[in-house]
Symmetry: D2
Subunit: 338 residues, 4 copies
Amino acid sequence: MKAWRIVAGSQIAGLKLVDETPKALGPHDVRVRPRAAALNFRDLMVINGWYPAVSKDALVPGSDAAGEVVETGSAVTRLKVGDRVATSFFPDWIEGQPTRAKLATALGGGGAGVLTQDLVLNENALVKSPAHLDDAQAATLSCAGVTAWRALFEVGQIKPGQTVVLLGTGGVSIWALQLAKAAGARVIITSSSDEKLARARSLGADDTINYKTTPDWDNEVIQRTSGTGADLVLEVGGSQTIMKSIAATRLGGTVAVIGAVSGPGAALEPMSLIGSSVRLQGIYVGSREMHEQLARFVEVAGIRPVVDSVFAFEELPQACGHFLGGKHFGKVVVSIHP
Amino acid sequence: MKAWRIVAGSQIAGLKLVDETPKALGPHDVRVRPRAAALNFRDLMVINGWYPAVSKDALVPGSDAAGEVVETGSAVTRLKVGDRVATSFFPDWIEGQPTRAKLATALGGGGAGVLTQDLVLNENALVKSPAHLDDAQAATLSCAGVTAWRALFEVGQIKPGQTVVLLGTGGVSIWALQLAKAAGARVIITSSSDEKLARARSLGADDTINYKTTPDWDNEVIQRTSGTGADLVLEVGGSQTIMKSIAATRLGGTVAVIGAVSGPGAALEPMSLIGSSVRLQGIYVGSREMHEQLARFVEVAGIRPVVDSVFAFEELPQACGHFLGGKHFGKVVVSIHP
Amino acid sequence: MKAWRIVAGSQIAGLKLVDETPKALGPHDVRVRPRAAALNFRDLMVINGWYPAVSKDALVPGSDAAGEVVETGSAVTRLKVGDRVATSFFPDWIEGQPTRAKLATALGGGGAGVLTQDLVLNENALVKSPAHLDDAQAATLSCAGVTAWRALFEVGQIKPGQTVVLLGTGGVSIWALQLAKAAGARVIITSSSDEKLARARSLGADDTINYKTTPDWDNEVIQRTSGTGADLVLEVGGSQTIMKSIAATRLGGTVAVIGAVSGPGAALEPMSLIGSSVRLQGIYVGSREMHEQLARFVEVAGIRPVVDSVFAFEELPQACGHFLGGKHFGKVVVSIHP
Amino acid sequence: MKAWRIVAGSQIAGLKLVDETPKALGPHDVRVRPRAAALNFRDLMVINGWYPAVSKDALVPGSDAAGEVVETGSAVTRLKVGDRVATSFFPDWIEGQPTRAKLATALGGGGAGVLTQDLVLNENALVKSPAHLDDAQAATLSCAGVTAWRALFEVGQIKPGQTVVLLGTGGVSIWALQLAKAAGARVIITSSSDEKLARARSLGADDTINYKTTPDWDNEVIQRTSGTGADLVLEVGGSQTIMKSIAATRLGGTVAVIGAVSGPGAALEPMSLIGSSVRLQGIYVGSREMHEQLARFVEVAGIRPVVDSVFAFEELPQACGHFLGGKHFGKVVVSIHP
């Protein structure tokens, strides 16, 4: 079997597809035949060495895979051969508050990743896939889906009818769009592309703002919420957007701090939070319990996550390039076993 | 103008349509021309003298009316002539926790009701109606709609994908069905009528149980939730159903105690709550803030509440009889000004 | 080594002290030399066969023991030889919501208990004891302490300055008295004994009510809270007290349903919850995380739990008799290894 | 009667004590004879023109006064002559979420302040003072006390036994120290003065850190919490401390953003929140309900707020100078009527 590994000193160009021997199965382990893996911005950060505290040398990258259980260890009780499953981003964060130990073994970061043709994981690190999804779709729950779920329903505590602002049309934002609409929220979404905004509207977005033609999109949000501001902003932009995200939020509202695609930087003035009573909360994916709650919701509401494109296993570098090109809408997926 | 009043010693038969002089307008008051009023089981309890602590003698009954602002007091700022509004069940419960003072003046109970052709209320006691609803629909938010909202989203804290059990197809249950589905929850509903269950399915119910043919509906709920039980039961039945409602609930789940259409009685064994960690919470409608949040959700999600039937103003006694007959599905409404 | 076992068909008289062989240690197990065990009403229920769904035949009873780690399995990481620990009531409920699986193995109920001279448990089933407590004191955290913690701070969400009502002076009530006072709450406590009430005052109780001389203690609570009612009642009485507990609670307040020392019975009228918006929540001990939070609080605040009396290991039947006699104040403890 | 007013273009030197005519009493108003006013950093910001969106020209400064009701309007029901009361910082924020309207009329900012010998306010803008406090002490609840309460118990949701970090020994920090200890929390406090740290220990602080001799106080907090970090930091420092405050907080913990005594500045890197799941929440005093809850706690726990010094009414400029000198420990108070 083959696996992708990050070779030290390299960036995308240094990803190597190498031959590997399948791992032996411990009593609590499950062997999964992975069919698809979904990429995240974080994978590109790991590959490029931008990610803090990850020893990327020779790491198998990737955190989100879906496939089928093909073998179970002698003590396994949660799963059986034939079950369709996806990986849990943090194998050791089952439920409850995060701790350093629970976060230490994230797939494709603290621990080995999923871009391999044979995957062995503890039975606790897998979640059953919603029956109506194929594996390309199911793979997108692990990181982007769980992040959107946690931002909306754990951190944001969004109630039906409240207003959520989404920045751009990347994987987390499009997941959040679909989840928020299926949960009865109102969605305002921004993009620099009118074409992407039209697509977002067809997925249910109530309002769209082109931030290129309307650079003061924070004021626009205020106006479209009768002067009040949004209940929740999913902030994926970083130093270029954080102050506008705070300005677009209602008194006592929430900004979920998720990413920094516009780059890092000490851009936030703490005073801006005081008069507004705004709450900022950092989000780094979530627990297996959140993944299970998301899967249940996806099943009850019949949600189908948006897959932008599917690349062959051998085309991982091209998939990464497409991702960094920023033209995608929804998730970029790599097919592992067709 | 005319108003209905409850004459002492009487029941439905003693409702009297009497001539009245319109009230004068104080500086903070608003005069509403009510077009429709929705009936609740509680109105029948008041009329029949079953309701605790209400001096029903000569009371104008009814709590839920919708219509148009026709005059505003000199100090009014929240509303203007032409606004379409509905009454807030508790005129003095604006927001926050309930207190005795906030609950003391409930319309058609502690205070005068809405079955009158000319309605004068403090501007704080009214909520703007969702634009896409007619007044018969908008009137149903005040009591049944707010009760369902509070049960699902304040008390039950229902997350998308969770399971809600609804008992019967009365006003609160059908409101809860529509709200729960628009918020991404799974709904199991019971009835003694297969025809009503079919109607509930057409409104989105995921599962239906005929409690006549399946008297152990609590076990059925357990089975249909993979042995776990429901996250929330909206208990409107009273002494005949409360123990089954608890048995149908998952460990740590919630039973919202709303009504007792099957009659009162000391039917609950406290020990039943201990092993299950179940939470019971009584609900008596809600605040104006909840009404406003409901109205916003109804507008965002385009929900149209189910009106079973509309009676003419003069036909209030017939409307009450129809209500008590128990054949209705959704809300029974009285037209005040056509 | 010796252990107590429940012999079928018997009650206290049938408890047998038998010779046993120490259990072998699995890789994740820890051997504890228990020094003390604290009794709970639930142990008497198990011994007497009153407890639902417990196969008591030949069960080792008891759930709360404290002692010292004397041996650790090869894979143990959380504990080391010499650590002072107490048992976690539910070995498999580490954190998060309760589930049937997590509750299935409660010590001295679903699983073997602690009244044994040699105790082998999974390392996850133990919590470090606060340094300033002896083992008789530390043993009382597991069931009574955790129950009081969960009632006050998880279920009741008591804020400093709020009012808590405690019924009687048993183990949970006295624990709750000490915890509530150290957390800045106001405590009203009831008893049939003026002497016990005086002792409760010396432990910090703000108000005391003798329910024998003041049978309408619910009205008395209302009066002593300026007509408002208590924020939280810890209901340990059962059918004889539940309606009074509800009546003593403020609008929107909480009754934590913990026990039924006055016996079971269908005594609760669901309608009583509606007008009052009162919340009833059943409590069956709690998770290891709650135990750890309690231990931390006990250490920070320097709390010393009240031990009523200590019996020798051979005197378990006498200890049970003393417990059932109802003269105790605080916890009844059995010394295992002096 | 006399009042202090801010004269345009000036700073402390421009405060003017002017003769005024007492205001007439509206039907819902109460006349208070103020005995004492407590100063806050915010008053100095208003006086110096550093405060956003306040037209300071000729404004009466000050927000926190305590005194006695001497006259009541014809419609007043909440208060009577002789009641001892303190001002509510936001006269129009009674309860619930903040809104722009509720915050618009803050005393000594959006509206007239309290540094006047005759104070007329709506009855809703006053809270009864705890009986055991004198007016100098009672005046300190309005802003500093409520801010500390909200940070600890509303925003921080501090549970007994958790760890709170306080920066410096100003009014909010010392209030928080007293409240946190009376609520059973553990307190770590910083200062540049060993003498002030000794005083903090005598008030119950568990740990102290001199940030001059230990500039890496964030690491020190991590070490003193067994590597975990604090549950809550009350961040009053601003751009010089915010990143250290985040670093001192546990995964999933909270930084309450309260002030910026070290000055403003875009000092916060949003990425720092992601891996840590830390929550930042801005706090701008609080509602009357929070003030009432604080007053109740102060009464139940017998807390006496720390008054650093009391200046005569005519000495307001000197009091301001003393405040800005930064030598105080606890609250600086001005006596209005002795």
